[in-house]
Symmetry: C2
Protein backbone atom coordinates (compact mmCIF):
# COMPACT_ATOMS: atom_id res chain seq x y z
CA UNK A 1 0.00 0.00 0.00
CA UNK A 2 1.40 3.39 -0.98
CA UNK A 3 0.04 6.02 1.38
CA UNK A 4 -0.54 9.54 0.11
CA UNK A 5 -0.08 12.32 2.67
CA UNK A 6 -1.62 15.69 1.86
CA UNK A 7 -0.22 18.58 3.84
CA UNK A 8 1.29 22.00 3.35
CA UNK A 9 4.68 21.70 1.63
CA UNK A 10 6.62 24.37 3.52
CA UNK A 11 6.08 23.64 7.20
CA UNK A 12 6.40 20.71 9.58
CA UNK A 13 3.10 21.55 11.28
CA UNK A 14 0.63 18.81 12.13
CA UNK A 15 1.75 16.81 9.12
CA UNK A 16 5.11 16.14 10.75
CA UNK A 17 3.55 13.85 13.34
CA UNK A 18 2.37 11.63 10.50
CA UNK A 19 5.63 11.89 8.55
CA UNK A 20 7.53 10.67 11.60
CA UNK A 21 5.32 7.59 11.93
CA UNK A 22 5.63 6.75 8.23
CA UNK A 23 9.40 7.27 8.35
CA UNK A 24 9.98 5.20 11.49
CA UNK A 25 8.06 2.32 9.91
CA UNK A 26 9.84 2.62 6.57
CA UNK A 27 6.41 2.89 4.96
CA UNK A 28 5.87 3.47 1.25
CA UNK A 29 4.40 6.96 1.12
CA UNK A 30 4.35 10.10 -0.92
CA UNK A 31 4.22 13.63 0.51
CA UNK A 32 1.92 14.82 -2.24
CA UNK A 33 2.31 18.60 -2.05
CA UNK A 34 6.10 18.27 -2.04
CA UNK A 35 6.37 15.91 -4.98
CA UNK A 36 6.38 17.81 -8.28
CA UNK A 37 6.23 14.60 -10.31
CA UNK A 38 3.13 13.28 -8.63
CA UNK A 39 0.63 15.32 -10.59
CA UNK A 40 -2.35 14.83 -8.31
CA UNK A 41 -4.78 17.63 -7.51
CA UNK A 42 -3.55 19.98 -4.81
CA UNK A 43 -4.79 20.19 -1.25
CA UNK A 44 -7.30 22.98 -1.82
CA UNK A 45 -8.73 21.25 -4.86
CA UNK A 46 -9.32 18.09 -2.87
CA UNK A 47 -10.86 20.01 0.03
CA UNK A 48 -13.33 21.74 -2.27
CA UNK A 49 -14.24 18.74 -4.42
CA UNK A 50 -18.05 18.58 -4.10
CA UNK A 51 -18.08 14.88 -4.98
CA UNK A 52 -16.02 13.96 -1.93
CA UNK A 53 -17.98 11.69 0.39
CA UNK A 54 -15.83 12.34 3.47
CA UNK A 55 -14.38 15.84 3.03
CA UNK A 56 -11.67 16.85 5.51
CA UNK A 57 -12.16 20.07 7.44
CA UNK A 58 -8.46 20.90 7.03
CA UNK A 59 -5.13 19.25 6.16
CA UNK A 60 -3.42 16.95 6.92
CA UNK A 61 -5.31 14.12 5.31
CA UNK A 62 -4.24 10.70 4.17
CA UNK A 63 -5.28 8.60 1.22
CA UNK A 64 -5.01 4.89 1.91
CA UNK A 65 -6.47 3.06 -1.05
CA UNK A 66 -10.13 4.08 -1.20
CA UNK A 67 -10.05 5.68 2.24
CA UNK A 68 -9.59 9.39 2.81
CA UNK A 69 -8.90 10.14 6.48
CA UNK A 70 -8.28 13.42 8.28
CA UNK A 71 -7.54 14.77 11.75
CA UNK A 72 -3.94 14.04 12.74
CA UNK A 73 -4.70 11.80 15.74
CA UNK A 74 -7.28 9.90 13.71
CA UNK A 75 -4.79 9.28 10.91
CA UNK A 76 -2.20 8.05 13.40
CA UNK A 77 -4.73 5.80 15.09
CA UNK A 78 -5.51 4.30 11.68
CA UNK A 79 -1.89 3.90 10.63
CA UNK A 80 -0.31 2.71 13.87
CA UNK A 81 -1.53 -0.91 13.92
CA UNK A 82 -0.70 -1.23 10.21
CA UNK A 83 2.81 0.16 10.80
CA UNK A 84 3.50 -1.75 14.02
CA UNK A 85 3.56 1.43 16.09
CA UNK A 86 1.06 0.50 18.81
CA UNK A 87 0.36 -2.69 20.79
CA UNK A 88 -2.58 -4.80 19.62
CA UNK A 89 -4.77 -4.79 22.74
CA UNK A 90 -7.77 -2.42 22.69
CA UNK A 91 -6.78 -1.10 26.09
CA UNK A 92 -3.34 -0.10 24.77
CA UNK A 93 -4.77 1.55 21.68
CA UNK A 94 -7.22 3.60 23.73
CA UNK A 95 -4.39 4.65 26.01
CA UNK A 96 -2.14 5.61 23.08
CA UNK A 97 -4.92 7.60 21.44
CA UNK A 98 -5.77 9.36 24.70
CA UNK A 99 -2.14 10.46 25.00
CA UNK A 100 -2.05 11.50 21.35
CA UNK A 101 -5.14 13.67 21.88
CA UNK A 102 -3.43 15.26 24.87
CA UNK A 103 -0.43 16.00 22.64
CA UNK A 104 -2.86 17.50 20.11
CA UNK A 105 -4.19 19.82 22.82
CA UNK A 106 -0.63 20.78 23.75
CA UNK A 107 0.24 21.45 20.11
CA UNK A 108 -2.88 23.56 19.67
CA UNK A 109 -1.97 25.64 22.71
CA UNK A 110 1.53 26.06 21.28
CA UNK A 111 0.14 27.59 18.09
CA UNK A 112 -2.09 29.89 20.11
CA UNK A 113 0.95 31.57 21.66
CA UNK A 114 1.57 33.46 18.41
CA UNK A 115 -2.08 33.58 17.28
CA UNK A 116 -4.21 34.21 20.37
CA UNK A 117 -6.79 36.41 18.59
CA UNK A 118 -7.30 34.90 15.14
CA UNK A 119 -5.45 32.65 12.71
CA UNK A 120 -6.39 34.92 9.82
CA UNK A 121 -4.46 37.87 11.30
CA UNK A 122 -0.69 38.23 11.11
CA UNK A 123 1.35 37.64 14.23
CA UNK A 124 2.37 41.30 14.17
CA UNK A 125 -1.29 42.28 14.52
CA UNK A 126 -1.67 40.32 17.77
CA UNK A 127 1.78 40.63 19.28
CA UNK A 128 0.66 42.22 22.56
CA UNK A 129 -1.87 39.48 23.18
CA UNK A 130 0.70 36.89 22.11
CA UNK A 131 3.15 38.09 24.74
CA UNK A 132 0.56 37.67 27.48
CA UNK A 133 -0.49 34.25 26.30
CA UNK A 134 3.07 33.01 25.78
CA UNK A 135 4.03 34.10 29.31
CA UNK A 136 1.37 31.79 30.71
CA UNK A 137 2.14 29.03 28.28
CA UNK A 138 5.84 28.95 29.12
CA UNK A 139 5.41 29.38 32.88
CA UNK A 140 2.52 26.98 33.51
CA UNK A 141 1.44 24.94 30.49
CA UNK A 142 4.78 23.60 29.26
CA UNK A 143 5.70 22.38 32.78
CA UNK A 144 2.22 20.91 33.27
CA UNK A 145 2.26 18.87 30.06
CA UNK A 146 5.90 17.82 30.47
CA UNK A 147 5.28 16.71 34.06
CA UNK A 148 2.31 14.66 32.94
CA UNK A 149 4.38 12.72 30.43
CA UNK A 150 7.27 12.43 32.87
CA UNK A 151 4.90 10.83 35.38
CA UNK A 152 3.74 8.31 32.77
CA UNK A 153 7.28 7.46 31.75
CA UNK A 154 8.22 6.93 35.39
CA UNK A 155 5.40 4.40 35.72
CA UNK A 156 7.19 2.46 32.97
CA UNK A 157 10.58 2.87 34.60
CA UNK A 158 11.31 -0.85 34.80
CA UNK A 159 10.11 -1.89 31.39
CA UNK A 160 11.91 0.50 29.02
CA UNK A 161 12.40 4.01 27.73
CA UNK A 162 9.13 4.43 25.85
CA UNK A 163 5.48 4.87 26.77
CA UNK A 164 4.79 1.18 26.24
CA UNK A 165 8.16 0.03 27.52
CA UNK A 166 10.64 -1.41 25.04
CA UNK A 167 8.82 -0.89 21.76
CA UNK A 168 8.49 2.55 20.26
CA UNK A 169 4.95 3.78 19.53
CA UNK A 170 3.58 6.66 17.49
CA UNK A 171 3.03 8.53 20.77
CA UNK A 172 6.76 8.45 21.48
CA UNK A 173 7.48 9.89 18.04
CA UNK A 174 4.98 12.68 18.70
CA UNK A 175 6.44 13.43 22.11
CA UNK A 176 9.88 13.68 20.49
CA UNK A 177 8.46 16.19 18.01
CA UNK A 178 6.85 18.28 20.77
CA UNK A 179 10.18 18.55 22.58
CA UNK A 180 12.02 19.34 19.33
CA UNK A 181 9.51 22.04 18.46
CA UNK A 182 9.39 23.59 21.91
CA UNK A 183 13.20 23.72 22.03
CA UNK A 184 13.09 25.68 18.79
CA UNK A 185 10.27 28.02 19.85
CA UNK A 186 11.07 28.52 23.54
CA UNK A 187 14.74 27.63 24.09
CA UNK A 188 15.11 29.50 27.39
CA UNK A 189 12.05 27.87 28.89
CA UNK A 190 13.08 24.41 27.79
CA UNK A 191 16.62 24.89 29.15
CA UNK A 192 15.02 25.69 32.50
CA UNK A 193 12.47 22.89 32.68
CA UNK A 194 14.18 19.96 30.97
CA UNK A 195 16.40 19.00 33.94
CA UNK A 196 13.25 18.27 35.97
CA UNK A 197 11.96 15.94 33.24
CA UNK A 198 14.81 13.51 32.55
CA UNK A 199 12.64 10.63 31.31
CA UNK A 200 11.01 12.80 28.66
CA UNK A 201 14.40 14.09 27.52
CA UNK A 202 15.77 10.55 27.38
CA UNK A 203 12.79 9.45 25.30
CA UNK A 204 13.47 12.35 22.93
CA UNK A 205 17.11 11.25 22.56
CA UNK A 206 16.23 7.60 22.06
CA UNK A 207 13.76 8.48 19.30
CA UNK A 208 16.25 10.78 17.63
CA UNK A 209 18.89 8.02 17.58
CA UNK A 210 16.67 5.43 15.90
CA UNK A 211 18.26 4.64 12.52
CA UNK A 212 15.29 5.53 10.32
CA UNK A 213 14.46 8.68 12.27
CA UNK A 214 18.11 9.78 12.24
CA UNK A 215 18.25 9.20 8.48
CA UNK A 216 15.03 11.12 8.00
CA UNK A 217 16.16 14.08 10.12
CA UNK A 218 19.36 14.30 8.06
CA UNK A 219 17.49 14.11 4.74
CA UNK A 220 15.92 16.89 2.67
CA UNK A 221 12.54 15.33 3.47
CA UNK A 222 12.75 16.92 6.93
CA UNK A 223 11.80 20.58 6.65
CA UNK A 224 13.48 23.09 8.93
CA UNK A 225 11.43 24.84 11.61
CA UNK A 226 10.38 28.30 10.50
CA UNK A 227 8.10 31.21 11.37
CA UNK A 228 5.24 29.99 9.18
CA UNK A 229 4.70 26.80 11.19
CA UNK A 230 3.18 25.98 14.56
CA UNK A 231 6.47 26.13 16.47
CA UNK A 232 7.81 29.65 15.89
CA UNK A 233 10.79 31.30 17.48
CA UNK A 234 9.92 34.89 18.39
CA UNK A 235 12.43 35.84 21.12
CA UNK A 236 10.11 38.53 22.49
CA UNK A 237 7.61 35.82 23.51
CA UNK A 238 10.03 34.55 26.12
CA UNK A 239 10.93 37.97 27.49
CA UNK A 240 7.94 38.32 29.80
CA UNK A 241 8.41 34.78 30.99
CA UNK A 242 9.61 35.54 34.51
CA UNK A 243 6.57 37.62 35.36
CA UNK A 244 4.19 34.71 35.82
CA UNK A 245 6.46 32.32 37.65
Amino acid sequence: MRYELYYQPSIQGRGEFIRLALEEAGADYIDVARDPTFGRPGIMKVLEDPALEHPPFAPPFLKAGELLISQTANILQFLAPRLGLVPEKEESRLWAHQLQLTIADWLYETGQTHHPVANVLYYEEQKDEAKKRAAHFTSTRIPKFLSYFERILKLNAKSGDFIFGEDVSYVDLSLFQMIEGLRYAFPKTMAQVEPQHPKAVLLHDRVMARPRIAAYLASPRRLAFNEQGIFRHYPELEEAQGQNR
Copy 2:
Protein backbone atom coordinates in the same frame (compact mmCIF):
# COMPACT_ATOMS: atom_id res chain seq x y z
CA MET B 1 -22.09 -2.80 32.64
CA ARG B 2 -22.58 0.30 34.78
CA TYR B 3 -20.45 3.11 33.40
CA GLU B 4 -19.01 5.70 35.76
CA LEU B 5 -18.58 9.20 34.35
CA TYR B 6 -16.23 11.55 36.18
CA TYR B 7 -16.71 15.21 35.39
CA GLN B 8 -17.29 18.52 37.09
CA PRO B 9 -20.70 18.57 38.77
CA SER B 10 -21.77 22.14 38.01
CA ILE B 11 -21.28 22.60 34.26
CA GLN B 12 -22.25 20.85 31.04
CA GLY B 13 -18.77 21.31 29.58
CA ARG B 14 -17.07 18.48 27.73
CA GLY B 15 -18.82 15.94 29.92
CA GLU B 16 -22.17 16.81 28.33
CA PHE B 17 -21.15 15.21 25.04
CA ILE B 18 -20.75 11.92 26.89
CA ARG B 19 -23.89 12.36 28.96
CA LEU B 20 -25.92 12.81 25.77
CA ALA B 21 -24.60 9.56 24.29
CA LEU B 22 -25.30 7.62 27.48
CA GLU B 23 -28.79 9.13 27.75
CA GLU B 24 -29.75 8.50 24.12
CA ALA B 25 -28.73 4.86 24.51
CA GLY B 26 -30.54 4.46 27.83
CA ALA B 27 -27.25 3.22 29.27
CA ASP B 28 -26.75 2.34 32.92
CA TYR B 29 -24.39 5.04 34.18
CA ILE B 30 -23.61 7.16 37.16
CA ASP B 31 -22.47 10.80 37.04
CA VAL B 32 -20.06 10.31 39.91
CA ALA B 33 -19.43 13.88 41.04
CA ARG B 34 -23.16 14.61 41.11
CA ASP B 35 -24.18 11.55 43.09
CA PRO B 36 -23.81 12.13 46.84
CA THR B 37 -24.62 8.51 47.64
CA PHE B 38 -21.94 7.07 45.46
CA GLY B 39 -19.06 7.52 47.88
CA ARG B 40 -16.23 7.07 45.41
CA PRO B 41 -13.10 9.23 45.49
CA GLY B 42 -13.51 12.61 43.84
CA ILE B 43 -12.11 13.67 40.51
CA MET B 44 -8.97 15.32 41.86
CA LYS B 45 -8.19 12.35 44.06
CA VAL B 46 -8.39 10.02 41.07
CA LEU B 47 -6.26 12.32 38.93
CA GLU B 48 -3.52 12.44 41.56
CA ASP B 49 -3.55 8.77 42.52
CA PRO B 50 0.08 7.72 41.98
CA ALA B 51 -0.91 4.08 41.53
CA LEU B 52 -3.01 4.85 38.46
CA GLU B 53 -1.62 3.09 35.40
CA HIS B 54 -3.38 5.30 32.85
CA PRO B 55 -3.85 8.68 34.52
CA PRO B 56 -6.08 11.16 32.68
CA PHE B 57 -4.65 14.59 31.95
CA ALA B 58 -8.00 16.18 32.81
CA PRO B 59 -11.69 15.29 33.20
CA PRO B 60 -13.92 13.94 31.78
CA PHE B 61 -12.94 10.34 32.24
CA LEU B 62 -14.93 7.15 32.19
CA LYS B 63 -14.62 3.97 34.19
CA ALA B 64 -15.86 0.94 32.29
CA GLY B 65 -15.08 -2.13 34.34
CA GLU B 66 -11.31 -2.23 34.66
CA LEU B 67 -10.77 0.39 31.97
CA LEU B 68 -10.20 4.06 32.75
CA ILE B 69 -10.48 6.20 29.61
CA SER B 70 -10.12 9.92 29.06
CA GLN B 71 -10.32 12.53 26.30
CA THR B 72 -13.92 13.17 25.30
CA ALA B 73 -13.64 11.99 21.69
CA ASN B 74 -11.77 8.87 22.80
CA ILE B 75 -14.46 8.04 25.35
CA LEU B 76 -17.17 8.48 22.72
CA GLN B 77 -15.26 6.35 20.25
CA PHE B 78 -15.06 3.61 22.88
CA LEU B 79 -18.71 3.86 23.90
CA ALA B 80 -20.37 4.32 20.52
CA PRO B 81 -20.18 0.75 19.17
CA ARG B 82 -21.25 -0.58 22.58
CA LEU B 83 -24.22 1.80 22.68
CA GLY B 84 -25.23 1.37 19.04
CA LEU B 85 -24.34 4.96 18.20
CA VAL B 86 -22.04 4.39 15.20
CA PRO B 87 -22.12 2.02 12.23
CA GLU B 88 -19.92 -1.07 12.45
CA LYS B 89 -17.66 -0.56 9.43
CA GLU B 90 -14.14 0.74 10.14
CA GLU B 91 -14.59 3.38 7.45
CA SER B 92 -17.68 4.74 9.20
CA ARG B 93 -16.02 4.77 12.57
CA LEU B 94 -13.03 6.67 11.25
CA TRP B 95 -15.36 9.15 9.61
CA ALA B 96 -17.40 9.60 12.80
CA HIS B 97 -14.28 10.08 14.88
CA GLN B 98 -12.85 12.57 12.38
CA LEU B 99 -16.03 14.63 12.67
CA GLN B 100 -16.00 14.35 16.45
CA LEU B 101 -12.43 15.66 16.55
CA THR B 102 -13.50 18.57 14.37
CA ILE B 103 -16.30 19.27 16.86
CA ALA B 104 -13.68 19.10 19.63
CA ASP B 105 -11.66 21.78 17.82
CA TRP B 106 -14.78 23.90 17.44
CA LEU B 107 -15.61 23.49 21.14
CA TYR B 108 -12.07 24.41 22.12
CA GLU B 109 -12.25 27.57 20.03
CA THR B 110 -15.58 28.39 21.68
CA GLY B 111 -13.98 28.30 25.12
CA GLN B 112 -11.12 30.47 23.91
CA THR B 113 -13.54 33.33 23.19
CA HIS B 114 -13.77 34.09 26.91
CA HIS B 115 -10.29 32.83 27.84
CA PRO B 116 -7.92 33.89 25.06
CA VAL B 117 -4.95 34.57 27.35
CA ALA B 118 -5.01 31.88 30.06
CA ASN B 119 -7.51 29.52 31.65
CA VAL B 120 -6.13 30.32 35.09
CA LEU B 121 -7.13 33.99 34.81
CA TYR B 122 -10.67 35.28 35.30
CA TYR B 123 -12.65 36.35 32.26
CA GLU B 124 -12.66 39.90 33.62
CA GLU B 125 -8.85 39.93 33.46
CA GLN B 126 -8.86 39.18 29.72
CA LYS B 127 -12.04 40.89 28.58
CA ASP B 128 -10.37 43.14 26.00
CA GLU B 129 -8.63 40.22 24.34
CA ALA B 130 -11.84 38.20 24.59
CA LYS B 131 -13.75 40.84 22.65
CA LYS B 132 -11.26 40.71 19.82
CA ARG B 133 -11.20 36.95 19.70
CA ALA B 134 -14.98 36.61 19.93
CA ALA B 135 -15.45 39.05 17.04
CA HIS B 136 -13.44 36.74 14.79
CA PHE B 137 -15.04 33.61 16.16
CA THR B 138 -18.57 34.82 15.53
CA SER B 139 -17.87 36.37 12.13
CA THR B 140 -15.70 33.68 10.57
CA ARG B 141 -15.34 30.52 12.65
CA ILE B 142 -18.98 29.77 13.51
CA PRO B 143 -20.02 30.12 9.84
CA LYS B 144 -17.04 28.03 8.71
CA PHE B 145 -17.75 25.11 11.03
CA LEU B 146 -21.53 25.28 10.46
CA SER B 147 -21.05 25.33 6.68
CA TYR B 148 -18.79 22.32 6.87
CA PHE B 149 -21.42 20.26 8.66
CA GLU B 150 -24.17 21.62 6.41
CA ARG B 151 -22.19 20.40 3.41
CA ILE B 152 -21.86 16.92 4.92
CA LEU B 153 -25.55 16.75 5.76
CA LYS B 154 -26.41 17.78 2.20
CA LEU B 155 -24.36 14.86 0.89
CA ASN B 156 -26.72 12.65 2.90
CA ALA B 157 -29.82 14.47 1.68
CA LYS B 158 -31.46 11.36 0.25
CA SER B 159 -30.76 8.96 3.04
CA GLY B 160 -31.97 10.79 6.15
CA ASP B 161 -31.58 13.63 8.58
CA PHE B 162 -28.44 12.49 10.33
CA ILE B 163 -24.76 12.24 9.45
CA PHE B 164 -25.10 8.54 8.64
CA GLY B 165 -28.59 8.86 7.20
CA GLU B 166 -31.47 7.37 9.16
CA ASP B 167 -29.75 6.22 12.33
CA VAL B 168 -28.58 8.73 14.91
CA SER B 169 -24.89 8.62 15.84
CA TYR B 170 -22.91 10.17 18.67
CA VAL B 171 -21.71 12.82 16.23
CA ASP B 172 -25.30 13.99 15.70
CA LEU B 173 -25.76 14.31 19.46
CA SER B 174 -22.59 16.37 19.67
CA LEU B 175 -23.62 18.61 16.81
CA PHE B 176 -26.95 19.19 18.57
CA GLN B 177 -25.03 20.23 21.69
CA MET B 178 -22.79 22.62 19.74
CA ILE B 179 -25.84 24.38 18.30
CA GLU B 180 -27.56 24.47 21.70
CA GLY B 181 -24.47 25.92 23.32
CA LEU B 182 -23.77 28.48 20.62
CA ARG B 183 -27.40 29.65 20.74
CA TYR B 184 -26.92 30.28 24.45
CA ALA B 185 -23.53 31.99 24.11
CA PHE B 186 -23.99 33.92 20.87
CA PRO B 187 -27.73 34.29 20.22
CA LYS B 188 -27.43 37.20 17.78
CA THR B 189 -24.84 35.42 15.67
CA MET B 190 -26.82 32.20 15.56
CA ALA B 191 -30.03 34.04 14.62
CA GLN B 192 -28.12 35.50 11.68
CA VAL B 193 -26.39 32.36 10.44
CA GLU B 194 -28.89 29.58 11.12
CA PRO B 195 -31.14 30.32 8.11
CA GLN B 196 -28.21 29.53 5.81
CA HIS B 197 -27.72 26.15 7.50
CA PRO B 198 -31.13 24.49 7.44
CA LYS B 199 -29.88 20.88 7.52
CA ALA B 200 -27.86 21.51 10.66
CA VAL B 201 -30.85 23.17 12.33
CA LEU B 202 -33.12 20.29 11.31
CA LEU B 203 -30.64 17.80 12.75
CA HIS B 204 -30.64 19.78 15.99
CA ASP B 205 -34.44 19.65 16.15
CA ARG B 206 -34.60 15.95 15.31
CA VAL B 207 -32.12 15.12 18.08
CA MET B 208 -34.00 17.30 20.57
CA ALA B 209 -37.27 15.51 19.79
CA ARG B 210 -35.92 12.01 20.38
CA PRO B 211 -37.81 10.56 23.36
CA ARG B 212 -34.83 9.80 25.58
CA ILE B 213 -33.10 13.10 24.79
CA ALA B 214 -36.32 15.05 25.37
CA ALA B 215 -36.79 13.28 28.71
CA TYR B 216 -33.19 13.99 29.66
CA LEU B 217 -33.40 17.67 28.75
CA ALA B 218 -36.52 18.03 30.90
CA SER B 219 -34.92 16.22 33.85
CA PRO B 220 -32.76 17.60 36.68
CA ARG B 221 -29.89 15.57 35.23
CA ARG B 222 -29.50 18.25 32.54
CA LEU B 223 -27.61 21.18 34.02
CA ALA B 224 -28.45 24.67 32.81
CA PHE B 225 -25.89 26.61 30.81
CA ASN B 226 -24.02 29.09 32.99
CA GLU B 227 -21.00 31.38 33.07
CA GLN B 228 -18.68 28.77 34.55
CA GLY B 229 -18.92 26.45 31.56
CA ILE B 230 -17.51 26.46 28.04
CA PHE B 231 -20.55 28.12 26.45
CA ARG B 232 -20.92 31.45 28.26
CA HIS B 233 -23.27 34.28 27.48
CA TYR B 234 -21.43 37.58 27.81
CA PRO B 235 -23.47 40.05 25.73
CA GLU B 236 -20.45 42.31 25.23
CA LEU B 237 -18.71 39.57 23.24
CA GLU B 238 -21.26 39.96 20.45
CA GLU B 239 -21.16 43.75 20.39
CA ALA B 240 -18.06 44.08 18.24
CA GLN B 241 -19.37 41.41 15.90
CA GLY B 242 -20.11 43.61 12.93
CA GLN B 243 -16.57 44.93 12.68
CA ASN B 244 -15.08 41.86 11.12
CA ARG B 245 -17.85 40.93 8.75
